[in-house]
């Protein structure tokens, strides 16, 4: 069979297939855009005091009430204590809860659908990512991505025009997350900034305080031009948390699942690194956020409930989960998923988490199969 024959036959397959670009289709795309956007950005810092925590709103209020919100940045970066055993493992010591499974997966590689390792999801060697938050908490937090320009900024409904250091940009606020984007360096670069636990004006002030590392960046950028921002001054209490270089191409993971007969808890530890940790948090959809301390480390607690977009028939299903996330070491991140929103139960679970020694972990693995040694995960688009 010739290639021209294939071409002709494929053309014939769809010759009676029409799908004009109608306003209805356009509106459907509009709705989907908003859903996707919220899925990436929804998060509300609430005053629901769970686990005896310092709530993000309170932190924001403190910042708002501070008569001199700008001060010199602290020198020491946030660094969680390094666990000498390398890859940690955790369990839950709580009456009524029993381990139902423990697994260890080594050298997990994210694969494309054809079984081949994909390139990075958003390969951009020039991109500078910076994260800011208080030394002992993960909120309020600001995540900043600075890249070569890839187009102009598209204004959407509900966006608010802003001016950042004399450059026009856009901002929006969805369920407590504030986001800004603008194209500095004469339009040659793009900044995306997302913040939780700060109000809109505070975020705009924060953005205006970012001093570009390089005053001039060409398009495309030259080899010596530097992306990112100097952070000599930040809102009171916040510091920059220097990120480790890059995401690893493979990682290990330890998972422990427990049940009390009604609910379950899944504790997942992996060494995918800091950047993956913060990227995950910026993409989470949830309706309540708060900061907590778990195993002596700053963590976030969020709950996922029903989501609804005002003026739209689109809703986001409730999965009824609560989730704790924290960086346990410089490379190991922990996610604890709890199949319940019950505050007392969440508090008890947060207080009952404990790090295992390697000997304990090995015993747990031996007594609670299954255990795997190598895993390949299909990488979604």
């Amino acid at each position: 069979m010739s290639t021209s024959s294939v071409e002709e036959r494929l053309q014939r397959l769809v010759e009676d297939f029409t799908a004009p670009a109608t306003t209805t289709a356009y509106r459907a795309i509009e709705r989907r855009t908003r859903v996707l956007r919220r899925r990436r950005r929804v998060g509300v810092a609430t005053a629901a005091g769970v686990v005896g925590v310092v709530v993000a709103v309170a932190a924001a209020v403190v910042l708002r009430d501070d008569p001199s919100p700008e001060r010199t940045v602290e020198v020491d970066p946030v660094r969680p204590p390094v666990d000498e055993t390398g890859m940690p493992a955790l369990t839950l010591d709580l009456d009524g809860w029993e381990v139902t499974a423990a697994t260890e997966e080594l050298d997990i590689v994210l694969l494309g659908f054809d079984g081949l390792p994909p390139p990075p999801p958003d390969p951009d060697p020039d991109e500078a990512v910076q994260v800011f938050h208080p030394p002992d908490e993960l909120m309020p937090s600001v995540y900043v991505s600075h890249t070569p320009v890839r187009g102009t900024i598209g204004q959407q409904m509900f966006d608010t025009p802003v001016t950042i250091r004399g450059v026009d940009g856009l901002g929006w606020e969805d369920f407590g997350e504030v986001a800004l984007t603008w194209n500095p360096h004469g339009g040659n670069t793009t900044v995306w900034l997302r913040a939780r636990g700060l109000d809109f004006d505070q975020v705009v002030d924060f953005a205006n305080g970012l001093e570009p590392r390089d005053a001039d960046i060409a398009s495309p950028p030259g080899p010596d031009e530097r992306f990112g921002f100097e952070t000599t001054e930040l809102p009171a209490g916040m510091i920059e948390d220097p990120l480790a270089a890059e995401r690893p191409t493979s990682f290990d993971r330890r998972t422990v699942t427990l049940s009390n007969g009604t609910d379950f808890v899944r504790i997942t530890v992996d060494d995918e690194g800091q950047r993956a940790f913060y990227e995950y948090l910026t993409g989470v959809i949830a309706d309540t956020w708060s900061t907590v301390t778990v195993v002596d480390r700053p963590a976030t607690l969020f709950t996922r409930t029903y989501g609804w977009i005002p003026g739209s028939p689109v809703s986001i299903e409730d999965d009824g989960m609560a989730e704790l996330n924290w960086l346990h070491t410089t490379t190991a991140k922990v996610r604890v998923e709890i199949s319940s929103h019950d505050e007392d139960q969440v508090e008890a679970i947060a207080g009952g988490l404990r790090q295992l020694s390697e000997a304990e972990w090995n015993d747990l693995l031996a007594s609670a199969p299954p255990t795997t040694t190598t895993t390949a995960m299909t990488f979604p688009p």
Binding site: F17, T18, A19, G151, G154, M157
Partner: protein, 166 residues
């Protein structure tokens, strides 16, 4: 400042064609061709619509960061289509039975053969022989090396030939 998906009062269409297309212009230009590509990949109008609208929405979300919208669209459509095919792998041959009765026999044969291909090879064939993409462009859409595309197309053509001549 260009406008991506705009306010509810705006009606897409009738813009003069600038050098760099706006989101609306790209929508008008590429929606139907992408629907046809998606239809060839998933075999159902409703699912093709789902795939393509999702791809446009994802592109809209990142409009200011995409330097090659057409390539991005192809990649999104292929990825979403493959997701969908993974979910209904068992059903993947059924759709062709529901095609219009006006379809020619040849079309049914190639449709069956196409549906029998693994998703990645099917995407390679559709992008190469229907959408007319180069091997380099297909490699970008499928996240594989150009040499892999060549190999995929070679195997796909062999399988198409085997199925049709069976």
């Amino acid at each position: 400042m260009n406008t991506a998906v705009g306010s509810a009062a705006e009606v897409p269409g009738s813009h003069p064609a600038p050098v760099a297309p706006t989101f609306e212009e790209l929508f008008h230009e590429r929606y139907e061709p992408m629907m046809r590509v998606a239809f060839l990949l998933v075999g159902s109008r409703a699912e093709a619509e789902d795939v393509v609208q999702d791809a446009f929405a994802r592109m809209n979300l990142r409009w200011s960061r995409i330097d090659n919208p057409s390539a991005y669209l192809h990649r999104c459509v292929v990825n979403r289509a493959n997701d969908l095919l993974r979910r209904r792998r068992v059903e993947q041959r059924v759709w062709w039975l529901h095609r219009h009765e006006t379809s020619e026999l040849d079309a049914d044969e190639i449709g069956d053969a196409l549906a029998a291909l693994p998703p990645a090879r099917r995407a390679a064939v559709v992008l190469r022989y229907y959408a007319g993409l180069s091997e380099q462009e297909i490699a970008e859409a499928l996240d594989v090396r150009p040499g892999t595309v060549k190999s995929m197309l070679h195997r796909a053509m062999a399988e198409l030939k085997r199925v049709i001549e069976r």
